[in-house]
Structure formats: C-alpha cells, structure tokens
C-alpha cells in the first residue's frame, strides 16, 4: 500500500492557503468524503444513538430510555433464536468453507490438467445471487419431490432428510446452500495465497522426503497465515450479513426456526414498525463485526501508522 506523494510536489511553491491546495482534487473527492462522513459515520452514529431512545415510528418525540431496548431485545425469544442460528451457521460455515476451500485449492495446486475448467465450475455459484441459490436448494431439498424422494426411490425407504420443514435441522439446509455458493471464492483466495509461496519451499521439502500432506499442514498453512486471516475476515463479514439466502430458502421458517439477526432487524424496522428494537439489534450486529474487525485491523496495521 505504498502511495506516492506526487500531488503535493506538483502543487507548486506558492501556497495561497492550505485549504485551496489541490482544490480540484478536493472538489472531485466530495462524493467520497460525503459518503465517509454522512453515511458511514453519520448514519451509524445516528442508529446507535436512537437505539437508546423510545422511538416506535419516526418522526416522533424521542425519549431517552437507556438500555431498555436492549433488555427487551435479549428477552425476546425470536432474537435469541436468531443469535443461536447465526452462531451455528457462522461456526460451521467458517470451518467448512475454510476446510473445503483449502482442500480444493491444494488439489488444484498439484499442477493438474483442466485447472481452469475445474476452477470455473467450482466458482460459478459465487456469481449467482443468494436469492437464486436459496430457491434452487429449496427445490432440491423439497421433501416430496426432491432429493429425499429420489433416495427413497432407490430403495432406501426410510431415508429422511428434510431440512426445509424440520425446525431442528433447518439451519443446516441453509448451510449447505451457503457453502455451495461461497466455498469457490474461498478456494480462489487460498489458491492465490498458495501460488505466492516460494517454489523453493517445495523443493526443500521434497529433498527432505516430507510427504506432500505434511508439507501442506506444517509448512504451507503457517506460511499462508495472512491469507487465512483475510479470508476469515471476509467470510465473517459475509456471515453476519446473511439475509437474502434465508428469505429465499425458508422465509425464516418453519415458524421462527431459521431466523437470523439481519432478517430480524429488517422486519422490526419495516414490517412491525418497532424501530427502537430494530436499532438495538442492528447495533448488536455492528458490535459483533467490531469484535472481528478490531483485532484484525490491529494485526494488519498495528505496526504501521494509519492504513
């Protein structure tokens, strides 16, 4: 991220006022500055502030209520279910997509033929939207006509796999779809990291007679730490945002069994007009992103000053 400082040398010797230096550039950057200040900082602070007020439907007289919204939020069963689902989905999705992504990347890294074709096939779901992904898997997992029916018709009469209508496993049905959609992306990311590793490492391990799988686990993975961290941050940010996949595949059902926080927030804000709860819930989402983001930013930029 080295940036050359040409702008300042080009500005010339006479400085009328520091404010007017590079004036065109400043004017051209107004959309960026406005987005950063008004949307990313302003709107975020606005939401956080209003999560402490009693606002059912704006504009209305706001009344500071402290943590009341948060207390109500955490006593609501639907929110607890959402959080549990997010925890299960998040943990499984992180572990599975990193494992699958790494294994696939390692296989593609073995100097195989048709590498481009295989990569194209594995990555194509990533180009599809979550809505399409959710609807396809809803159809494949359809209990009467889908996968379950086919396996039963093969002779395994008692085969039961119905993650669309069974509240206990519905989140795993969404997980299958999510992994299908996103693991190709993780693979591409990790493959790029793998290709960045010095070829000499492989030569050395071959000379020493270390088997390939051992080289991957004990040498390649530790060397790829930065790529793994990047992948981890991106996957986590995606997990917290998961919304349209659930809406399309199960609509949060059966009952509230597959609710997720992102969906909870939207419904509180726009369907049940319970803004205070919606703001509190979205602030909790922000908090969980910060839990991931701050340590990462500290690791990534800790040594350097400012980005």
């Amino acid at each position: 991220m080295a940036v050359t400082d040409t702008g300042q040398t080009g500005a010339g010797a006479k400085k009328p006022s520091p404010l007017f230096k590079n004036l065109t550039a400043k004017i051209a950057a107004i959309p960026m500055i406005m987005t950063a200040l008004v949307v990313f900082i302003g709107c975020t602070l606005w939401t956080i502030y209003h999560s402490f007020t009693k606002s059912r439907l704006l504009p209305a007289p706001e009344k500071w209520v402290g943590l009341e919204n948060y207390e109500r939020l955490w006593s609501e069963n639907r929110w607890i279910v959402s959080i549990e689902n997010l925890a299960i989905y998040g943990a499984c999705s992180l572990i599975l997509s990193l494992t699958i992504g790494f294994i696939l990347a390692a296989l593609l890294d073995r100097k195989i033929r048709f590498e481009n074709t295989i990569r194209t096939i594995i990555l194509y779901p990533f180009a599809l939207s979550f809505v399409v992904t959710g609807l396809v898997w809803q159809w494949i997992l359809n209990p009467q006509l889908g996968l379950q029916n086919v396996v039963r018709s093969w002779g395994w009469e008692t085969f039961t796999f119905d993650p669309i209508n069974n509240a206990d496993i519905v989140i795993y049905g969404i997980l299958i779809a999510g992994i299908w959609q996103g693991s190709g992306f993780v693979m591409v990311l990790l493959l790029a990291g793998m290709r960045g590793i010095d070829e000499d490492v492989w030569k050395a391990s071959r000379v020493e007679g270390i088997p390939a799988w051992k080289t991957y686990i004990f040498i390649v993975i530790p060397m790829m730490r930065p790529v793994f961290v990047t992948a981890l941050v991106i996957i986590s940010a995606g997990i917290i945002k998961v919304y349209d996949l659930v809406v399309a595949q199960t609509s949060g059902g059966p009952g509230i069994a597959s609710e997720v926080p992102a969906k909870y927030v939207i419904e509180k804000m726009f369907t049940s007009q319970n803004l205070g709860l919606g703001f509190a819930a979205s602030t909790m989402m922000l908090l969980s992103v910060l839990v991931v983001l701050i340590p990462w930013a500290y690791l990534e930029f800790g040594g350097k000053k400012n980005g």
Binding site: T4, A29, P31, C43, I118, F126, W137, I234, I266, V289
Partner: protein
C-alpha cells in the same frame, strides 16, 4: 497479496505433469470430478426442471432428464407468472433491473474512478483518513445504515420538490425514496469502498514519470484524468464493470427496502413469485424464473473468465 493474485492468473507453474496413472493422481482427479458434479448439480436440476411439464415433475425423479421437452415454463415465467394481483411475469422485474443497473454502474464507476485517481495522484490533507473510513465502512452491516438513509432520501426528495416549486408552482413531487433514482444513489454509495480501492491501487501502479511529464506540460486534474489515466486503464474499468453488474443485479436487500412493488428489481420479484403462498406451486415455472434471473451474472461470469476472478480477488484484499 496483490502479487499473489497475479500469480494465480498465470496458471500452474513448473514442468508439465508426467503422464502417469499413479494412485495419487486417481485420487486427485477422482475427488475433483465428484466435487465438480456436486457444484454442477443445482445448475443441472434448474435446467431439467424448467424443461419438464408439471405431470412429469410430480411423478418423477428430480435428477432425471426431461422425457418431453417443453419451453412453456420459460414463456410463462417471463410473461405470465403472478406476484399478487399482478400477472406480467418476470419481464417487468427484468426491465426494472436493467433501468437500475445501467445508471448505477455508470455513475458508481465514474465517481469511484475519480476518487481513486484523486487518492493515488492528488493526495490532500486528510484524504487517507477518509479513505480508511470508507474501507472500514465496507464492513459495517448494511442494517445499521439502512434506516437513516431512508430518512435522508425522503427528506432530500422533499427538499428537491420544494426547490423545484420555487420556479414552477405546479412541479410534481420529486421522490427519491421508492424510486429508481434513490436506489441508484444507494448502489453508488455502497459500491464506493470496493471500487475506490480498486481504482486507487491501479492508479498508484501507473509510473509516476507519466504523471510528472503531464504536469510539466501543463495538464491539470481533469486533463490528466481524461487524456492519460482513462485511456490506459481500460482493463480495470472492465473489472469494475463486471464487479458492479453482478453485484447490483444480485442485490436483494436494497431492492426490497428502497423500491416499491412497481419498481422491484428482478431478484425481489423472483422471490415473490416463487415464495407466494397462493395458487398451486409450479416448480417448472419457478425454476425457469430462477434460471432467468441467474442468467445475466452467469453469462457475464462465463464470458469474462479470469477478469471475474481478478475482480473478486481485488475485492478480497480490502484494506
């Protein structure tokens, strides 16, 4: 990490593999074959289901090829499928999506490329601070910012109406909330972090001498941008376009919130058609509709090949 992505595109290195059928090779190719089947399965199911008639679907095997190929579901999905009382099919959503897509892509790329150019070549005091905020902003869940943006759009729509009526008393009310132009603004805002990063990194890699020579010749901010930077950075514009077209086409959340039923983009309409509770479920029509919605990003993906990979890899190195 940027270097690493370049390596990924250059394909495998080293000597050609020896043509031996070893047990390792069988395992590797066997595994990859099974994996590819798994990834292709949903696409296959979508295609065969959309070509079957309903009686065949009710009887048969979801994985079986169609006995009698029919294109009726496609026609129905495009022009007759119902959402609520409206039975115009997906075509309306398609055209809405196109009208959202074209201005959003153009405006967001225009603004982000100028931002990236200013950040790379015309740094000013505080520019890096704004850029850092922008990048961190990309990680803030949209849910946190969605409601204040609704208010901003509503209020500025009213502000513009008031302004227009200063000149013309009968000017019709100008609306940003619930209109396509509002959604274009939202897409421009939320596409900005990744696109700005993309362009900034690219323009930083342009040799400084070029820039200095142009400065000596008296070219200004816009002169250098239009005559030097723009012509030599067409590849990165294509990458940005691929990124934005697939991203905006696949968007669901903003479509639901910032538009109204008449202006719903294709993804929202698709979801409403398939998940509508009334009527008999026509799985073949549903799958044809799903495939139609996925077609645009799929075509772009298969046509663009490595540029798509480059786009998402650039997106991956956020920060």
């Amino acid at each position: 990490m940027v270097d690493a992505t370049v390596n990924a595109q250059s394909g495998p290195r080293g000597p050609k593999p020896k043509r031996v059928i070893s047990s390792t090779n069988i395992i590797i190719y066997g595994t990859l074959f099974v994996v590819c089947l798994y990834y292709l399965l949903p696409l296959y199911v979508m295609i065969v289901t959309s070509l079957k008639g309903m009686p065949e679907i009710r009887l048969g095997n979801i994985f079986g090829p169609p006995v009698e190929v029919t294109f009726e579901p496609w026609v129905k999905a495009w022009s007759e499928a119902c959402t609520g009382i409206n039975c115009e099919g997906l075509s309306r959503g398609f055209w809405n999506s196109v009208w959202i897509l074209v201005p959003s892509v153009i405006i967001s790329i225009a603004i982000a490329s100028v931002n990236g150019y200013a950040l790379a070549n015309w740094r000013f005091k505080g520019s890096e601070v704004f850029f850092t905020i922008l990048i961190f902003g990309a990680f803030i869940p949209y849910q946190v910012m969605i409601y204040p943006i609704v208010i901003i759009l509503r209020e500025s729509g009213e502000g513009i109406t008031w302004f227009l009526r200063l000149f013309n008393e009968d000017a019709s009310a100008f609306r940003l909330m619930g209109s396509l132009s509002g959604l274009v603004i939202v897409h421009t805002i939320f596409g900005m972090p990744i696109l700005t990063l993309l362009f900034r990194n690219y323009f930083t890699s342009v040799p400084e001498e070029l820039f200095k020579a142009a400065r000596v010749d008296g070219a200004g901010f816009w002169g250098i941008y239009f005559r030097i930077m723009l012509p030599m950075s067409l590849p990165i514009f294509v990458v940005a376009m691929i990124l934005q077209v697939t991203g905006i086409w696949n968007d669901f959340l903003f479509g639901v919130i910032y538009t109204k039923p008449e202006t719903y983009p294709m993804t929202v309409q698709l979801n409403n058609i398939v998940n509508s509770v009334q009527g008999v479920k026509e799985y073949n029509v549903n799958m044809a509709a799903t495939l139609l919605t996925g077609l645009v990003p799929l075509v772009i993906y298969f046509a663009s090949g490595k540029l798509f990979v480059r786009g998402i890899a650039a997106g991956a190195v956020k920060g």
